[in-house]
């Protein structure tokens, strides 16, 4: 009996430890509209202080999912745990900062008033809000903007203001939906740096996009969605390892004609640069051995990992084909 209890304790302890590191946990979330399943049985969890990427093509259900996480929509079924407790939109909403893809500002309002208004709606007092706005405006070089009207701002400038109003109240969870759209490279870098520093200071970020190169660079962990379903979940490096196709790039001083072996096949050749796929049952060393036997000068030899973009396109195309096949069977 005592033993059992201690085991149970150990179990709960581990559970707690795991929970302590988890900010958000979604289990079996579903949201159906009249004509489609926007979110169909999605589960994953997000660690505290991580930068999480939510990916998917247009119409995958990302926005619907984010709206459930921000309390704008109620899920049809499923469960959300936030910060160790059941998600309670009324109270937890102030711990979240959400910058939606469709975002805007009141055109006729002054920048300063606008920031103050949005900050107060997030539960900050007037003086607190003023302090934080001053801090952020200084940090992002916006001090002279206070009395300007939103309609006088460029797209990039209003983007910066929106970013500030999203993170101003120091939320535990920051959700950014396509944060770089419309930003020039300089401002995009500025925001990127802010994203890193927010994560370092303990905020958790969800970063939703269909731009893969940004995700590869920024995110620790990603989930890929298509047609309302989760089709991929893992860290960026794990995913690349899983989807690698045993491809290697070889740079030779000179490529002789009729190069061929049982261990690999050449998939691409550009001048002296070859891309090869190693056949099943062989290793990279077998390829090197062959090349050495041929007495070729090897200038470079490295593994080619698929880009997230390739994985993404392959998977999305795959699910589309499946769903099309499924639809044909149904009809």
């Amino acid at each position: 009996m005592a033993l059992l209890t201690s085991q149970e304790n150990k179990h709960t302890f581990e559970n707690n430890l795991w929970l302590m590191n988890t900010l958000l946990e979604l289990s079996h979330l579903k949201k159906h509209y009249a004509t489609q399943k926007a979110v169909d049985d999605i589960s994953f969890s997000i660690e505290k202080g991580s930068i999480f990427g939510l990916l998917g093509p247009n119409g995958a259900g990302k926005t619907t999912l984010l709206r459930m996480i921000t309390g704008i929509f109620y899920p049809d079924s499923g469960h959300i745990r936030f910060d160790g407790k059941d998600f309670d939109p009324a109270n937890d909403i102030i711990k979240i900062g959400y910058m939606p893809e469709e975002r805007g500002l009141y055109k006729k309002m002054k920048i300063g008033e606008q920031a103050l208004y949005l900050a107060q709606l997030k539960g900050l007092s007037r003086s607190e809000a003023m302090d934080k706005i001053r801090f952020w405006f200084k940090r992002l070089e916006m001090e002279t903007w206070w009395n300007k009207k939103v309609e006088d701002l460029s797209k990039g400038m209003s983007q910066k203001l929106q970013f500030v109003t999203t993170v101003l109240h120091e939320p535990k969870l920051i959700i950014l939906d396509e944060p770089f759209s419309g930003l020039d490279p300089v401002n995009a870098n500025l925001i990127k740096d802010e994203i890193y520093s927010l994560a370092q200071r303990g905020s958790t970020l969800i970063f939703s996009t269909h731009r893969m190169e940004q995700v590869e660079e920024i995110c620790d962990h990603i989930v890929l969605m298509n047609l309302g379903k989760k089709i991929l979940d893992g860290t960026v490096s794990d995913i690349k390892q899983t989807f690698k196709e045993n491809k290697f790039a070889i740079q030779l001083a000179e490529v002789p004609a009729g190069l061929s072996a049982t261990s690999f096949e050449i998939t691409e050749q550009k001048a002296n640069r070859l891309t090869v796929k190693i056949r099943d049952g062989y290793r990279s060393n077998d390829v090197l051995q062959y090349l050495l036997q041929q007495n070729l000068t090897i200038e470079a030899f490295h593994e080619v990992l698929p880009s997230l973009n390739e994985i993404f396109i392959n998977l999305v195309e795959g699910t589309r084909a499946t769903s099309r096949a499924f639809q044909t069977v149904q009809s």
């Binding site: 309390g71 704008i72 939606p100 805007g104 009141y106 208004y117 949005l118 109003t165």
Partner: protein, 444 residues
């Protein structure tokens, strides 16, 4: 601070601080006063002046047709249809020998066509002359006839109203004025402020701020904050108008000579004792002022103003929620708003038509029912209330009307909130009334 309060504050302040609001609030009463003064002035000054030559074959019209500067009758010699224009006449009337019993037709020739009011005035005056002539042939002498004519009115009708055992003076003209005026005011403000709510919601949606907002506040808070904020703007405008009107009339009184005001005061004090004698003592101007003041004092202003504020707010809340729902489903295209608004504007326009009837006859079954049903009650009830509570409008009707309006706006707000919640986050798709209906009545 409470989030709904913050929203109300923003909606209110951004509008009240707007230059256009300040201008319309100040200019509107001035414009109305100028409009009334202007039309009165024009109706007096700009009248069509006519000088009519009468060719009479009976020899009794001369000197017996009433002439006035606007409408002068003359009996010149050597004027006929060929030369009356050259001689300076605008028209010429040819009266043949009148028969004894059958109707006689006479002609009026003019270059410039006569208006319908002038036509009836001419006919009235000529008939009066004939009537006088007939009375004289029947044996009433000229002196008797003149003395009868001198007294323009033989008796004055004074309406009094039963109220709790005693009688109270009332004025149908004033009731009509108040009823129509307040009904009209509610009609206009419903459109102005309803459209303001709709535009505000559309602005939030097309500017894409809606989703940012609902990640901080509930859609219902956003909607109700906007509705209440704009309603407060409307109330502010009314209060400022009342203050301005009182101010303007007080200022206008300063221009009235002192002795005239003294006479008005005497009239007020003498009221009910010997009005006839006092009326004779006072000058014409003082009598006019006294009459206006006296007529206005017969209305029960506290009740009318309280009811007006209630029905303005109730009617506004009832329709504003619907306007907000329409605003929430409109996308970029303002034409969508036009067609979606139709089912809301139709009942408002119908209510206005019923109101114009109710203000003439406040006790028809149509008027009674329309003043209880919340779709039309704000306008129609105001038209009826001017005729008196509980005389024309029994307490139970007022109670039923108020309760159903409160219930009505709670219902429209509840249904609209459901449409609004879905609508503001929906982009690109054109939404039909059928879909809005489904959103409004689905569960949760």
């Amino acid at each position: 601070m409470n989030k709904t309060l913050l929203i109300i504050q923003r909606e209110y302040l951004t509008r009240v601080k707007n230059k256009r609001f300040v201008l319309t609030t100040i200019l509107m009463p001035l414009l109305i006063v100028a409009l009334i003064a202007g039309t009165t002035f024009l109706s007096i000054k700009g009248k069509d002046e006519r000088k009519i030559a009468v060719i009479d074959n009976n020899d009794f019209f001369k000197g017996n047709i009433k002439s006035s500067p606007q409408l002068a009758f003359e009996f010149p010699d050597k004027v006929d249809t060929s030369n009356y224009l050259q001689k300076g006449y605008t028209d010429i009337i040819l009266i043949p020998k009148l028969g004894d019993t059958e109707k006689t037709t006479y002609l009026i020739r003019s270059k410039k066509r006569i208006s319908i009011t002038t036509e009836s005035q001419i006919s009235e005056r000529i008939n009066a002359a004939i009537e006088d002539h007939m009375l004289q042939t029947a044996g009433i002498d000229k002196a008797q006839l003149d003395s009868i004519h001198k007294q323009s009115q033989f008796a004055e009708l004074k309406a009094v109203e039963e109220s709790e055992g005693s009688v109270k003076e009332s004025s149908a003209g004033l009731s009509y004025g108040i009823g129509f005026g307040s009904g009209m005011l509610i009609y206009i403000t419903m459109f102005i402020y309803g459209a303001m709510v709709m535009r505000g919601v559309m602005e939030e949606k097309t500017n894409r701020i809606a989703e940012v907002m609902v990640s901080s506040v509930k859609p219902f808070q956003l909607m109700s904050g906007k509705i209440i904020g704009i309603g407060a703007v409307g109330l502010t405008q009314f209060l400022m108008w009342i203050v301005l009107i009182i101010g303007l009339t007080t200022a206008a009184q300063a221009f009235v000579p002192h002795d005239v005001m003294e006479q008005v005061k005497n009239l007020q004090q003498a009221n009910g004792q010997l009005p006839g004698n006092n009326m004779v003592q006072a000058g014409e101007a003082a009598q006019q002022i006294y009459k206006v003041q006296h007529t206005f004092s017969t209305a029960n202003w506290p009740v009318i103003i309280t009811c007006f504020i209630f029905y303005f707010l109730g009617g506004y809340l009832f329709y504003a929620a619907l306007f907000a729902a329409v605003g929430s489903v409109v996308n970029e295209d303002p034409q969508d708003a036009q067609s979606l608004m139709l089912p809301i504007t139709m009942p408002i326009i119908f209510s206005f038509i019923i109101m114009t009837n109710a203000v003439q006859d406040p006790s028809t079954p149509m008027a009674v029912w329309a003043s209880i049903i919340p779709f039309s009650s704000p306008m129609v009830m105001m038209a009826r209330i001017a005729y008196g509570i509980p005389g024309t409008v029994p307490y139970w009707q007022l109670g039923a009307s108020m309760l159903s309006l409160i219930g009505g706006f709670l219902l429209t707000t509840w249904l609209s909130a459901k449409i609004y919640r879905t609508g503001i986050l929906m982009y690109g798709k054109k939404v039909s009334w059928k879909e809005m209906f489904r959103w409004a009545f689905r569960k949760n």
